[in-house]
Symmetry: C2
Subunit: 306 residues, 2 copies
Amino acid sequence: MTEKTLRGLLSPVVTPFDADLKPDTKRWIEHSRWLLSQDCGLAVFGTNSEANSLSLDERLTLLDAAFEADLDPARMMPGTGACALPDAVTLTRRAVEGGCAGVLMLPPFYYKGVSDDGLFAFYDRVIQAVGDARLRIYLYHIPPVSQVPISLDLIERLLKAYPDTIAGIKDSSGDWANTSAMLDRFENFDVFAGSETFLLSTLRGGGAGCISATANINPAAISRLYKSWQAPDADKQQAAVTDFREAVSAYPMIPALKAAIAWATGDETWRNVRPPLMPLDGETGKGFVRMLEGRGFSMPGRRNID
Amino acid sequence: MTEKTLRGLLSPVVTPFDADLKPDTKRWIEHSRWLLSQDCGLAVFGTNSEANSLSLDERLTLLDAAFEADLDPARMMPGTGACALPDAVTLTRRAVEGGCAGVLMLPPFYYKGVSDDGLFAFYDRVIQAVGDARLRIYLYHIPPVSQVPISLDLIERLLKAYPDTIAGIKDSSGDWANTSAMLDRFENFDVFAGSETFLLSTLRGGGAGCISATANINPAAISRLYKSWQAPDADKQQAAVTDFREAVSAYPMIPALKAAIAWATGDETWRNVRPPLMPLDGETGKGFVRMLEGRGFSMPGRRNID
């Protein structure tokens, strides 16, 4: 059965890098703590975390640091998918041993056009190798990036084989018809919208919440919508968070999120990204800041650690 | 300047897996030795090697085993690209330290639609971090799988910055116009066709050879074409290797290559693939074997190690 501790709003926690582009554990913990303080769970190692730009060892080191810092594992859903089966097993096992309430698992994404049989075999082997009844897997459907979709038939087959382990999905297809079909078709399966744009629709359809990049910088408003989705002003709240999301989405998402945190904290280190991503360049960065200023953007309570 | 030891035919060496789907070093060395005996170089850790289905540690262990087995590093071009910069650096460094004449480097392939600036920064950082004048990089352009192309402008920029390090490219676009444009535009840059289908055209255009999946099972005929490409029967040779390639390509390539080796050696272990790939199923496998038999297929000198 699905753990309710992971419902609501989660953020794919952006990963800070130091001047040598190594993961900056202190800043990462600080940002994670702030997100928790805003009622936002931690989907560390997501697409917007540059997770696949981190080595396995770097991800394991960060995860251990989170446990040592006593971040609540009941609010953690680390990304543990990988192209290589042993990497997915190692990272998933560590997450479960650390008490994470769930993991968000990309399919192996190098080969394209692979069969549902092959994807089923991948998840099946991870589940068998981890061999822990505490494991809860949220599937990660993000075809615009992974180019490897998770079909409704594959979900059905996985749910039939592992009803207690397959806990839900993050749908980052951007295709509401797909999200809606999953909400209609599956029981005991927590559907998360891939962004706050579909949060209210997802909740009205019986979904569990959303896991959204912009939660890194706008968690309070999104979390409030989650908690008050049946309130009279819910549609108005939805319009406001959607509007902010769209304003940010006019820029490359990951560099923009980091630029927003750098601006809010005065900590320029936050601008660093790993190639193949690039920081916002001068003119684009200035336009982005003007947009934030024009909206009175702030991250209340978010301070620079230095 | 480019090392000539890597010209001609190379094979992305298929990676054997044991019953637990762990890399089988003995069978891998045996197959590699046979390929060398057929005048076929070793592009280990290519797409058809299931390289991205191997952990970094598994790739390092295999590479060390190749060095210990005295496979000629002057004939080795391991794939060392990765999504994560540190992985690419670690693997590239090991290859250079082991004396490999070159490396074949995928761009980071998780994020799509990335900029040439970002891809340049990735290769730049790998080159700076490895910091070894012996490094020779062959770029790996395989947009049908990676979905991250290497543009002509990016090549030009890399060649200008690192004329002694950027040694060439494997063009697996399947687009002859692109291969031809690279042959025309760049000097001191070894262009390899991504399959034997374009071998003769590539050589006539001044290219270096080909790196082909089917070289795993048909190296002698392709290598002969490379060595006698100016002979009167070259077009006839080309037609024959193309015909065989097309017959194999009617099946899923990697499982088919492994099924062919299993059939030729009587060693069923060779059929194993890692998910998300699947072995050829019963009926498909039978059809494949009938195709091989009908063509009098064999792998002369290739024996089962057991």
